[in-house]
Symmetry: C2
Subunit: 291 residues, 2 copies
Amino acid sequence: MINELFAFYKPIIENRIDELLPETNAPYNEVVRASRYSLKLGGKRIRPILMMEFCRLFGGDYKSALDFAVALEMIHTYSLIHDDLPCMDNDDFRRGKPSCHKAFSEDMALLAGDALLTEAFAVAANANTDADIKVKAVATLSQMAGFSGMLGGQVIDLSFVKNPPDLDSLCDMYARKTGCLLRAAAIIGATVGGATEIEVNKADIFAQKVGLAFQIIDDILDVTADPELLGKPVGSDDKNQKTTFVSILGLEGARAEAKRLTDDALKLLNGFEGNTENMKALTEYLLQRNF
Amino acid sequence: MINELFAFYKPIIENRIDELLPETNAPYNEVVRASRYSLKLGGKRIRPILMMEFCRLFGGDYKSALDFAVALEMIHTYSLIHDDLPCMDNDDFRRGKPSCHKAFSEDMALLAGDALLTEAFAVAANANTDADIKVKAVATLSQMAGFSGMLGGQVIDLSFVKNPPDLDSLCDMYARKTGCLLRAAAIIGATVGGATEIEVNKADIFAQKVGLAFQIIDDILDVTADPELLGKPVGSDDKNQKTTFVSILGLEGARAEAKRLTDDALKLLNGFEGNTENMKALTEYLLQRNF
């Protein structure tokens, strides 16, 4: 089920990325190459697939959400490129391959991130749909990526180095840093699909539950995963004395919390009228992943 | 004339910035402070004023363009913050004061730039006007700031370190790096003001002329200016063996080219029906500046 879902959506997403961001003969092509390098580094496209599935669930054509889905993936990728920079996490590897500033250079990685963030809004504004929908998409993407969203979460995370968080603060940080882009996927997908305001709100809450579960699992995997399968080193949270769900609740406590949130999310799916089989498979995949 | 123009618009812009980006009690306020620090570092607000004047020139209320003007200034400021970073120009000072990464930290400056770029699109998408206008504004801002615009110009500029440009390549780089945000001001201002497509196009060409003149004057000032008045060190182009209009055309040749472009721009203004006195004053100010 889940493999078929990935097999269906992935080529559609990859092709649209290639159409929207092709290499060029222009003298600035180096930054296109750097952007494409990171954008094509083998991401699982969870956010775009979630968006298109929500669109479909509420009766829309998934293709209507495709450009917004690519825009969201561009924003996700920009955040990874900038997070890996020496002045941030200083990670030389991403998904088992050299991170952007290692494959290119630090200045080019900075600019590639900036360019992908900028281009995301160009792609959303130029999507082939109603202006009202496009404004809603741009407003949602910028809110969920910005000060009070993903970026704010990043800033709060940095503040934890000096002031280790309690569980509430940790949840708030995760909700922003990881949850907000999943929320953008749900809100935009449902909106494009024609969902009512109440349905959009339910999709949003679903994404919040999944987002927190997703991040708790990241904390768990940092303790338990095979680094080969994960594609990055493990044990870094413990080494860096980071407060995580595992350090606060223990491994089993963290697992129980992730399970509880995922069960909540699955229950929310049952409240939707359309066919939620794909969405359920995606949700369970996110809980059971070992990548 | 020009002082009255600045005196009229500046408080309007400053107040709107404070409304749109106030400090907050949220735990991510540090990045708001860093963003506001750079946004309020005493910029002359050339781009916002140009946009609102174009709006007014074509019969619109300048207030209809105010939020787009602030969005553009946010994009301009993000580009300055990231340009100053150690991996780029490594400038410790901006407008005579510590640059963002010196006043805060490198990671916070990176994130402040990212946040301002993101917030610019939130501000544009939430402006109090028609969805069609907002989509046009977002499309214009992202195009002019992105791969083929300002950011592409930055990338081309970096490539000149290895491959010094001829005059055509230098013009192309300046057109992108400096010209594109002025073009965004003209295009959005004219569009919001109700200009026809032909008028928008003329406003765009005007901005291209002014943008190139503006950059040539930057090259001239790097040779001739008083560093106290300029608020930054001079002579850096020569020290860095940078190819500039002055190094290719000589000081007088560069001055003549800036004069020619400004005369062209002033002629274009004469082709507009509205009152262009303010716009003429702004254009002449840009040519005669010694800051």
